[in-house]
């Protein structure tokens, strides 16, 4: 925490110094030579545009009010919630409920819907997570040399409080239980509420708690950047490959060789269980990756 404040402070000081320099520079520039940030600064600094700004704000608020009114008026037309005659309660919903167990082998209809009926959408959704994690890596990840890493560790040692007994003992009790619960939710995704997205989030939370209690070095012994990468890539590519198989057999009307099993058993419902596990690992890696990158610019 202290480190974050320190870096924040450095950042603010640096920006202020820079600002003064920039100021001197872009006073001499002509309008079309300035970049966007400098133009915005100019507009804020000079009082000329104050009248326009006021006008702009008033118009913006008015426009927003009109749009909100339109939206609320639209909502008043919509069918009331929970009415059985709603258009949304049609043959699609009926088919999911009547045939869900026969078609997918999953007792949890939601899992059957997102991982079997509409697996293509979910492939896209997990790729969104992958892209989001990659984008944060692009923004924040720093490849450090060994010397830098050593210096950082020394710095870290100053702030790391090794005697926070309450946190450490608490974490020792909570982390295994959370991890086991996450795995349970993950593996029972096709039997009970839960599944890849929720199980992965719980597992990611456990990892984050472990990291904040025991520090980076002990986390790195079992979860570092290489392992993070391997898990992410293998989970998502397994998902894509299994879907490729399922799409091609499905469209060509070939019976899939993966059995649905007996509904209600742990090992059943065809591809849903492995896919749930893949999504879960993907989500856990993304969660921990976000935390770790925002905290110390590495995984």
């Amino acid at each position: 925490m202290n480190k974050i404040f320190k870096s924040l402070n450095d950042f603010v000081n640096g920006v202020q110094d820079e600002k003064e320099n920039v100021h001197l520079k872009h006073k001499n520039k002509k309008h079309h030579e300035k970049v966007l940030t400098e133009r915005i600064e100019d507009i804020v600094e000079s009082g000329e545009n104050k009248g326009f700004n006021k006008f702009y704000n008033v118009i913006a608020i008015l426009l927003a009010c009109v749009i909100i009114a339109c939206m609320i008026y639209t909502v008043s037309f919509l069918p009331s919630f929970g009415d059985p005659t709603n258009p949304a309660n049609n043959e699609v919903v009926q088919a999911y409920i009547e045939n869900g167990i026969r078609d997918t082998g999953a007792v949890n209809f939601v899992a059957g819907m997102i991982l079997n009926y509409r697996a293509f959408d979910t492939l896209g959704e997990s790729t969104v997570l992958f892209i989001a994690a990659t984008t944060v890596i692009i923004l924040l990840f720093k490849h450090k040399t060994k010397e830098e890493e050593k210096a950082e560790q020394l710095e870290e040692a100053k702030y790391e409080d090794k005697h926070d007994l309450i946190l450490r003992h608490g974490a020792l009790i909570v982390v295994p239980a959370t991890l086991v619960f996450g795995v349970y939710v993950l593996f029972n995704g096709h039997l009970s509420p839960g599944g890849g997205f929720s199980g992965g989030t719980i597992m990611g939370a456990a990892l984050i708690l472990y990291n904040s209690a025991f520090g980076d070095n002990s986390t790195k012994t079992f979860f570092n950047y290489g392992i993070h990468k391997v898990i992410k890539i293998s989970a998502l590519s397994f998902y894509a490959l299994s879907q490729l198989y399922s799409f091609i057999t499905g469209a060509n009307l070939i019976e899939s060789i993966i059995p649905n099993g007996i509904a209600g058993n742990l090992i059943s419902s065809g591809l849903i269980l492995p896919l749930n596990i893949c999504v879960g690992f993907e989500v856990a890696c993304t969660m921990f990756g976000f935390y770790s990158l925002f905290d110390r610019e590495e995984i």
């Binding site: 079309h32 940030t37 639209t74 258009p87 699609v92 293509f120 896209g124 969104v128 892209i131 894509a240």
Partner: protein, 514 residues
């Protein structure tokens, strides 16, 4: 109990009788896979994988296009073991295959032309992520083209937004970060409006599959229920996708995002990303609401007015610009205006001209951005016209390509741009109530285009007497750049001279599109 086989047997569009019909699905999943594996590779390997994927994707889309032309009808491909609306599906016809083929080609050529700048502008340890983002961007584009489900479309709009922001951000500078932040905000606002539209539409029709929604909407229109929400939904879709494709009053993010990023990113963003959303809008017009419903609503008039404003004001802004890349970016705003004007005319011919403009602009703008990158090399990376004096003489290949692109954008006969303007004019004459305004706007915008492209050409081809030292020596033997621009020029001439063939393709495609 519902038997899915009866649904499949009743509709002959589901029948798979050729191996070619698997190709769109294979190309989508293949580019997913190669995008994911790019994260495991170093920069060189990721580049190879990206180009391998694009080459395979091009071959697969071309085979699909040839197959669709032979059959002359669309087909439905089940993504999984259940037919839609229970499962997902993609729908392939002539127009989709044509768009996918040309988008793949444009993406490959713009990456090839801007490769040197990618290596120069992106930090060495992050170059693999550039190719990762490009591959996934390509995935989302072809999935947007092929999908027949609104929610699938939304998922791929999301992927498209994030990857497009990432490729702007990957050029390491302060300006790109500011531009990315603006781009992300505006783009997310657009996605949000689109999502609200989808959820209201689901609420009143109960479906997410485009063809089923159309049935529901026709029903609602016939019985006269939910007229206000329907109008609101059309507005939300039009404005949401308008923001994302930089329609005039919502264009403010475009010049910075396109002007600051590395040349291959600018090329792909203006050539393809904007078009992906417009194709989605055309899909909404034909498949979700039906042409008549859209035609009766007032939204088309609004799109028409915005399109005309974009054509004129975008060009005026481009005239005032002293920055080469920003000038080209404002020219994109004007060219997008042509597409919206074509859609706004509200007749079949206008739509054909809009589709043709999508192709012409996709084959022209990337070339202009890549050549702008090459000119910047001759002036130590400056984009200002005063530094670029005589740049085209120092790099003649880029000069020729820029001249061809500029002539096409102005609308000189033999080039693609002329055909679009000609067809737009014919479409305008078929709609008497909008004819005068549309023709006037076409004339004014053509003159304005000439006012900024011709001086730009004159500056670039001027003899430079000053003996400034060049630090970054332009690589005249950059083979990728020469080949890519050569193919772009050839495609421009093909679109300009053999336009009747493409117009026939688009008309055939639009017939089976709805």
């Amino acid at each position: 109990m519902l038997e899915y086989t009866t649904i499949i047997n009743n509709d002959y569009h589901y029948v798979i009788n050729s191996i070619v019909q698997n190709f769109p699905c294979i190309s989508i999943i293949l580019s997913f896979l190669s995008g994911i594996f790019c994260a495991a590779l170093k920069s060189k390997g990721a580049k190879k994988l990206c180009f391998f994927n694009l080459t395979v994707g091009f071959a697969l889309s071309l085979a699909t296009l040839i197959y669709c032309l032979k059959v002359g009808d669309y087909y439905i491909y089940m993504m999984g073991h259940f037919p839609a609306p229970f499962g997902n599906e993609i729908r392939v016809g002539v127009l989709e295959a044509l768009m996918a083929t040309s988008f793949t080609l444009v993406m490959m050529l713009s990456l090839m032309g801007g490769l040197k700048h990618i290596y120069h502008d992106v930090l060495p340890d992050k170059q693999e992520y550039y190719f990762l983002m490009m591959t996934l961007l390509y995935t989302s584009l072809i999935a947007l083209i092929y999908t027949n489900d609104l929610f699938t479309a939304y998922v791929f709009v999301e992927i498209n937004t994030l990857t497009a922001c990432a490729i702007v951000m990957l050029k390491h500078s302060k300006e790109t970060l500011v531009a990315t932040a603006r781009y992300l905000m505006m783009s997310l606002l657009g996605s949000g409006l689109f999502l609200i539209g989808i959820s209201i539409l689901y609420d009143i029709t109960g479906h997410l599959l485009m063809s089923n929604i159309k049935e529901g909407v026709q029903n609602l229109v016939a019985t006269g229920r939910y007229t206000f929400p329907l109008e609101m939904i059309i507005c939300l879709f039009a404005i949401g996708l308008g923001i994302k494709s930089a329609l005039y009053p919502f264009h403010s993010w475009l010049p910075d995002a396109h002007g600051q990023s590395t040349s291959a990113s600018s090329a792909v963003l203006s050539g393809l990303v904007l078009k992906g959303y417009i194709i989605l809008l055309i899909k909404l017009v034909y498949r979700v609401f039906g042409f008549n419903v859209i035609n009766n609503s007032k939204v088309l008039n609004i799109l028409f007015v915005f399109g005309i404003l974009a054509m004129t004001i975008g060009s005026i802004k481009a005239i005032n610009e002293r920055d080469l890349k920003k000038m080209i970016a404002y020219s994109s705003v004007a060219q997008i205006g042509y597409i919206y004007m074509g859609i706004g005319l509200g007749n079949e011919l206008g739509m054909v001209a809009a589709c043709l403009q999508i192709l012409v602009h996709a084959f022209t703008k990337p070339m202009l951005f890549n050549t702008a990158g090459a000119f910047m090399d001759t002036a130590n990376g400056s984009r200002k016209f005063k530094d670029l004096k005589g740049a085209a003489r120092k790099n003649m290949y880029a000069g020729i390509a820029f001249a061809v692109g500029a002539f096409s954008m102005i609308g000189i006969p033999l080039f693609g741009g002329f055909v679009v303007k000609y067809n737009l004019a014919i479409a305008a004459l078929n709609n008497p109530s909008k004819a005068v305004i549309a023709l006037l706007a076409l004339i004014i915008s053509t003159v304005l285009n000439a006012i900024y492209y011709v001086p730009a050409l004159m500056v670039l081809f001027k003899k430079d007497d000053s003996t400034k030292k060049i630090v970054v020596i332009p690589d005249k033997k950059d083979l990728g750049f020469i080949i890519s621009n050569g193919i772009f020029i050839i495609c421009n001439f093909i679109l300009g001279i053999m336009s009747s063939y493409f117009i026939k393709l688009i008309i055939d495609g639009l017939k089976v599109f709805s």
